[in-house]
């Protein structure tokens, strides 16, 4: 195959450029025409003749049509942005921003959705990540608890006895300090006032005539009045809370504890429910040493209260409390401990 000389190719190229062929199409058309020309050269035609034929077939109109076709094809690919920015400064930046807008929005949506999902899922993720430490915490607590249980059981019985003793002690120590003042004032003052008016009549039966002389005796009678007052008080059956000598179970605390131990039965409902604790039974020890008005003041239920009251009522031999040597009614509160062994 004969090859076209450089200057011939240049000539064709110049012709195509002069015909305003689209620069993008030029290399391809040039190659095509050159191939045709070479083929013709092979057939023995002169270049001049070939060039004439070429200009005839590839006339300006044909080349223009090619260019227009190509432009139309490109126009279909062109976006709105290309049309808007045609003949404008594309390097300014707005063109790039507009061109990448679709991608930017897509990326933003993906990131936004991902962030939102992460936010919504965060509690679940957190719950999935955190539970590991929890079992360890519980394990430590379990180790510590049995020690507490051992501690609780043994010390429970002693407090019951101690409290019984403390009650008695406090009663004894308090009586001389506080009670005499109250009682002396309340019970002895009225007699003193009455002595001025009523004492005279009461003593009048004996000393009725000696009114004038009795002005001095009433002063002397005051102690006598006291004795009478003390005698009258038990008759009124006034109930004391604190007395000089508190009532006591015949035989002492040891005997009472033994009695309770012997007669107290643990109520079945309480033992089944595992109920423990103290029942405070309040009762009155009469001046004759009998138990009256026994009632549970504070209890633990499950039949323990009733049982405690029942046993307390069973007790008979109490030594009554004494005030100024005279047996009196005393209200007494006895804590009874129910303890499961």
């Amino acid at each position: 195959m004969k090859r076209l000389q450089e200057n011939r190719i240049d000539q064709i190229s110049k012709y195509l450029q002069a015909s305003k062929l689209d620069p993008e199409l030029l290399p391809e058309i040039l190659d095509h025409l050159a191939c045709e020309a070479e083929e013709s050269l092979w057939d023995g035609k002169s270049f001049e003749q070939i060039y004439q034929d070429m200009v005839k077939t590839a006339d300006a109109q044909t080349l223009l049509n090619l260019s227009v076709d190509h432009q139309n094809l490109l126009a279909m690919e062109k976006s709105l942005n290309d049309i808007v920015f045609e003949n404008r400064n594309k390097s300014y930046g707005a063109y790039d921003l507009r061109k990448g807008y679709g991608q930017t929005v897509q990326r933003a949506v993906v990131m936004g959705v991902a962030f939102f999902l992460l936010l919504v899922m965060f509690p679940q993720l957190y719950a999935k990540l955190i539970p590991d430490p929890k079992p360890n915490d519980i394990a430590y607590i379990v180790e510590a608890s049995p020690v507490d249980i051992v501690m609780e059981e043994p010390p429970a019985p002693p407090p019951a006895k101690e409290e019984l003793e403390t009650v008695q002690k406090t009663v004894k120590s308090l009586t001389p300090e506080v009670l005499p003042d109250d009682k002396v004032e309340i019970e002895e003052l009225p007699p003193v006032i009455e002595d001025l008016s009523n004492a005279q009549p009461s003593t009048e039966t004996v000393d009725g005539v000696e009114n004038i002389e009795t002005i001095a005796p009433p002063v002397a009678n005051v102690p006598a009045a006291k004795a009478e007052a003390a005698g009258i008080e038990p008759k009124k059956e006034e109930t004391f809370t604190f007395v000089e000598q508190s009532p006591q179970y015949a035989g002492g605390n040891e005997a009472m504890a033994a009695f309770l131990r012997k007669n107290l039965k643990y109520p079945r409902p309480a033992s089944q429910a595992g109920i423990q604790g103290k029942v405070f039974v309040q009762f009155t020890v009469g001046s004759d040493g009998k138990i009256e008005n026994a009632a549970a003041v504070k209890g633990i239920g499950f039949g323990c209260d009733e049982e405690a009251v029942r046993v307390v009522k069973m007790m008979k031999d109490w030594m009554p409390g004494k005030q100024a040597g005279v047996p009196v009614r005393v209200r007494f509160t006895l804590p009874i401990a129910f303890q499961l062994d």
Binding site: E6, P27, D31, H32, E39, T62, L66, D69, E77
Partner: protein, 117 residues
Amino acid sequence: MENNTTSNEYVRGTLKTIVLNLLAEHDRMYGYEITQEVKDRTGGAIALTFGALYPVLHKLEQEGLLLTESVEVDGRLRKYYSLTHRGNETARTKTNDLERFIEAVRLLLAPKNLATE
């Protein structure tokens, strides 16, 4: 020349199929090679002008049926065309369609010829 013009009228509708079919037979071809192939195989009955061929090639390329590669040959840039995977499928269906159409046209033309005779 007369022959060419008449054939050009029919070629316009079938050119796309012809090009696809030729490219399906070859790995890659350039524009002039296609015109020569058509010319040789039809004995010159169908002559493709570059004015008709290149717009079709460019259109097929834009539709994603053809791939192009430029190779420098003898100091000139030569643009080779080859079929994409989708182009292969399209070539097959289009060729089948054209064959069926030609059969139909033949059926249409045959009775007329018989009647006139």
